[in-house]
């Protein structure tokens, strides 16, 4: 039991509610106000998983969704979030595993950053093009794939591009100014997390809501179903549109946050020794 209680030091206990609040506030803003085809509601979950461990991450994810879904009143609270608590838990659990493997460690100056940069550019470029092409090809596609009002497509498109620009700029800063290949590992971890999240959430969306979540992506699911897909594979296709891009951005943002907090602060968390760069001293 010692390994378990070490994940829940007072510091982690204090971090968890703050992480939950970051999840909910950012998620509600991105999904409800900016109308993007990504979620950005697991920055806190992945942060806790990485700095504290798999079980702390799991608990943060599950509690985020339960509190968001059932304990908060209507403008922020949303009844469709609750059943996806298991998905959020899996995301936190995986983040804990990545943290243990040291994938979020800053790797400043460890080796040449060129192969890493190439991998990152190919990975990010391919997924960005895929998500952009699917979600924004035309106002009808935008409505079908995200369920938002076609009139908001320009606004949503700009916000999405802006997020991408910020994302790419941060990667460039990490790779070229800081020569930190760690960013590539974090993005790769995010990609795997996103694919797993899409696979786990599809049957939940299918069983609990009959594939329908009342906001966003319903029409896409309907379109796939009309095309003859089973309920689960229709919802899976929707998830694979949003989740990998979302988790790549989220993982990188967490990597960037960890890199920008003081090393003294990070090192005090249970997983701190695996996150602090060893060579930059």
């Amino acid at each position: 039991m010692d390994w378990l209680s070490r994940q829940f030091s007072t510091r982690v206990i204090v971090l968890m509610p703050i992480a939950i609040a970051i999840n909910i506030v950012l998620g509600a803003t991105v999904q409800q106000a900016l109308k993007l085809p990504i979620y950005l509601d697991s920055i806190g979950t992945i942060l806790v998983g990485v700095v504290a461990g798999p079980f702390a991450g799991l608990l943060t994810g599950v509690l985020s969704n339960l509190i968001w879904g059932y304990l908060l009143p209507a403008p922020i609270g949303s009844t469709t979030i609750g059943p996806f608590a298991i998905v959020a838990g899996v995301i936190g659990l995986l983040a804990g595993v990545w943290g243990r493997l040291g994938l979020f460690r800053s790797r400043r100056g460890e080796s040449s950053s060129i192969p890493g940069a190439v991998v990152a550019v190919i990975l990010v470029g391919a997924l960005a093009v895929y998500t952009y092409a699917r979600a924004y090809a035309s106002p009808t596609d935008f409505q079908n794939n995200t369920g938002f009002d076609p009139a908001t497509i320009d606004q949503s498109r700009i916000f999405f591009l802006l997020i991408l620009v910020v994302f790419v700029a941060l990667i460039a800063v990490a790779l070229f100014l800081r020569r930190d290949v760690g960013a590539v590992y974090a993005i790769g971890a995010g990609l795997v997390t996103g694919i797993v999240a899409a696979i786990v959430s599809a049957p939940i969306a299918a069983v609990v809501f009959g594939g329908v979540t009342g906001s966003g992506t319903d029409l896409l699911v309907a379109a796939f179903r009309a095309g003859g897909d089973s309920l689960v594979s229709a919802t899976l296709k929707q998830g694979l549109l949003s989740d990998p891009m979302d988790k790549m951005i989220t993982s990188f943002v967490v990597f960037f946050i960890i890199g920008n907090l003081s090393q003294r602060f990070i090192a005090r968390f249970p997983n701190g020794e695996r996150l602090v760069s060893t060579s930059s001293m």
Binding site: I67, A74, V166, V208, F209, T213, G214, F265
Partner: protein, 272 residues
């Protein structure tokens, strides 16, 4: 001030401590309400296809009426309208493999079995979410948390849940303060959307980093108040509980298990 403090047997809590709630449903112990809600949610999904959701809905509405939270429950029902409409329309018009299609309009094929399926999912969803909503509306969060802590649920878990619930509105307020602060430095937050979009990073970064730097101070504040010290604590305000309720909770726990067994072995699955 100190002279007229009552002496002798247990002093009643001071006035600023809220009195225990009264009323048939409200005065139930929070743990009982939580278990009742859990049984209701499980029943909505496991008992038959129609029996469970309908029975649970009736039960939930009755307990809401007794607790006097019906008006607030109506607000929650209103919030679910878009998803209910969505479920009914998508399933009603696009139910795969339906043989009883009413009329065919291009790709749309409204069918009786589609609408039945949609209605059934809707009832389930409403029954389950309203069961939780009534328990939530009729229980103060602090009451539930302090009661759970008294039952050995763990100070850490109760802190996380309680603190998260109060941190969300605080973070929203903080974000508003940061918007004001950045605006006073010349950030355009009311122009065209592409001008506002440039403000995302200067707004989001202080929210996240500000919240994270709080961790250090809060950790020390909690440790200074013996947060991680082992051993029991005394409570200022004891919540009502009774032997029938205690027995009732064991029955509810049994029901939780029995329903799973009943569903797997068949008797609950054959109900309409």
């Amino acid at each position: 001030m100190t002279a007229d403090r009552p002496t002798g047997s247990p002093p009643s809590p001071p006035d600023f401590v809220l009195q225990a709630p009264s009323g048939a449903y409200l005065s139930l112990n929070p743990a009982t309400k939580l278990l009742v809600a859990a049984v209701e949610v499980e029943a909505a999904f496991l008992v038959g296809t129609w029996t469970g959701p309908v029975l649970v809905l009736l039960l939930v509405l009755a307990s809401a009426a007794i607790a006097g939270v019906l008006p607030r429950l109506a607000v929650i029902v209103a919030v679910t309208v878009p998803i209910v409409a969505s479920i009914m329309l998508i399933n009603g018009f696009l139910y795969p493999g339906a043989v009883d299609v009413i009329v065919r309009i291009g790709p749309l094929a409204p069918s009786v079995s589609g609408f039945q399926f949609g209605l059934q999912i809707t009832l389930r969803l409403l029954a389950a979410s309203l069961a939780l909503a009534v328990a939530y509306l009729a229980t103060r969060t602090d009451d539930l948390l302090s009661d759970l802590e008294r039952r050995g649920f763990g100070r850490r878990a109760t802190y996380v849940i309680g603190s998260a619930i109060e941190t969300v509105p605080r973070t929203v307020d903080r974000a508003a303060e940061i918007v004001d602060a950045q605006r006073s430095r010349g950030l355009d937050t009311e122009g065209r959307w592409w001008r506002r979009a440039r403000g995302i990073v200067p707004l989001a970064a202080p929210v996240v980093f500000g919240a994270l730097t709080e961790v250090e101070e809060r950790t020390m504040a909690l440790e200074a108040r013996a947060f991680s010290t082992p051993g029991p604590r005394t409570v200022l305000r004891v919540l009502p509980d009774s032997t029938p309720q205690r027995l009732g909770r064991y029955v509810l726990l049994l029901a939780l298990v029995a329903m799973i067994v009943g569903r797997i072995t068949g008797p609950l699955a054959v109900l309409p």
